[in-house]
């Protein structure tokens, strides 16, 4: 039985093979290591009010987060996307904070693996 983690969907992480397939684990690790850059791109688009780039980047990151089991961050991006990607509710800051914690949590999980 896997421990619960509010940031990472461990059941799904296991189902995609990240816990027993080194290649999948490496892809997830690669994603988390580049997450801060992707968040940086979103912030830049947000600050320059480039709505089309912002829409594209948020949508794409949402899909990757959900695929790589960073469920909380994926849900947060989905919520922001649904609200129209405005700045009034502090979404950007919240996303940065969750992204940071999610990266640390995923690195910790992957570090415990034998491969």
């Amino acid at each position: 039985m896997l421990p619960k983690n509010s940031l990472i969907d461990l059941g799904r992480l296991e189902s995609i093979g990240a816990l027993n397939d080194p290649e999948v684990a490496a892809l997830v690790r690669c994603f988390t290591s580049t997450l801060s850059n992707k968040i940086g791109d979103i912030r830049a688009a947000h600050e320059s009010a480039d709505s089309s780039s912002l829409k594209f980047l948020v949508h794409r990151l949402k899909g990757t987060c959900l695929t790589c089991c960073l469920t909380k961050l994926g849900d947060c991006l989905a919520e922001w996307e649904k609200s129209g990607l405005g700045s009034e509710a502090g979404h950007m800051e919240k996303i940065e904070e969750i992204a940071h914690r999610s990266s640390l949590a995923m690195e910790s999980i992957l570090a415990d693996l034998d491969f």
């Binding site: 995609i16 690669c30 594209f56 794409r60 959900l66 695929t67």
Partner: protein, 468 residues
Amino acid sequence: MRFSPTAPRVLVIEDDEIVASLIAHECRKSGFQALVFDQGRKALLQASKEVAAVLIDLTLPDLSGMDVLREIKRQHPTIPCFIITASDTASSAVEALKSGAIDYFIKPINMTRLMESIKSAVASFSGPGRSAFSSSSGYHWKSTLMTNFQRLVSKASRTSSPAQIVGESGTGKVELASSIHFGSSRRDGPFLVYNVSTDSAQQIEIDLFGSDGGVSAPMRSNVRGKMEAAAKGTLFINEIEKLPASVQWKLVEILDTGTFSRFGCEVKRRLEARLVFGASETFPENQESSVFNAELLSRISAITLRIPALRDRSEDIPMLCEHYITQICIANCRRRPEISADAMNLLVAYRWPGNLVELKSALERAIAVAENDMIDARDLPGAIARLGQDGMDYSPVTQDIGGRTINELERLSLIEALEACNDNRRKVADRLGVSLRTVYNLMDRHGVSRDRRSSPSTLKNEGPQDVA
């Protein structure tokens, strides 16, 4: 799993490299070769007949995934396409399915289900339901004969009434029955085939109706027959001309009452399977009236599908070659070869006594021996290749035919043959090198009455207005 360059190719059109890599990894584990594209335009250049399936992300940097889907389906209607997306709006799912996608996957993608769907779609190239007869095949027949026939097949799929399929050996009766089943509302039920291969009435009854294991039954335990096993599906009983008289009468009763009993048992069971029957091309003309039950014939012949012989629709041969080559190459993980013009001319000119089965077998051989991804005339089986060694030009006929139309020449040949053979249609068929069914079709088409046996000399005066 090791990478295999001959594995079926799956195009993954996804601009996020992590998601694309995860899908590609799953594809390789499932035995596919994954080709990843981060843009729609690049992928469209690679979409070809050799691709087994395509996965398309709806949001791409250059084109919309929906446009990519439509373009691929326009160019290659038979390639199975799947949509992947992070959007969960019902409207885009409906639009994707209407545009020809087989399925729609929302991120996070259930990889197991995605791979099962791809495998199922790829297998269906050679699996049940995906035949050259199926309405979902995406084929547009060149021959009017098959265009009209396809309409009949669609109509036959829309009912649960008994149907009869008649055709020469190798015309694909089982394949057609399968298409009728998978095109019907019974498609989720079983499709079973029973070939009448014994003359033992008892064995046939046990096979079809089952046995209760009673005193009169030769088996100890209860045995379910094909009729029970095909419940909610379709049972195709092939070669019905071989059915013993006692079984024919039982079928009449079953069709009338909608019930049947296991061998040696009085308990009535409800018939829940649709019955489709297969018979040889000359059926029932070659049956003695005392052998085949007219009552049964009248009950199964309301929907009769006569599969045209391949030689009567040679204009469909290039497309059929395309269909079978794709099917064979995917099943055998081979690169898809092209066919040279010489080889195609011979394939179209050959008379195909074994029909579709012979064509498929010839292509299997040709693919096995072809070099440099090209099927040439020398790669074809002897009987076909020899056509090219007689000095004749087998390219399509375009020369002058002395002011007469093909239609006139065809009518004259028919009438001459009828007179020479004293109106014996079977001899006429042999003389003209066509099937008996074709002789009847020609007589109908040219207004030659079928009951002119007594006065063959009047044939010359008949005209198309006499159509029976």
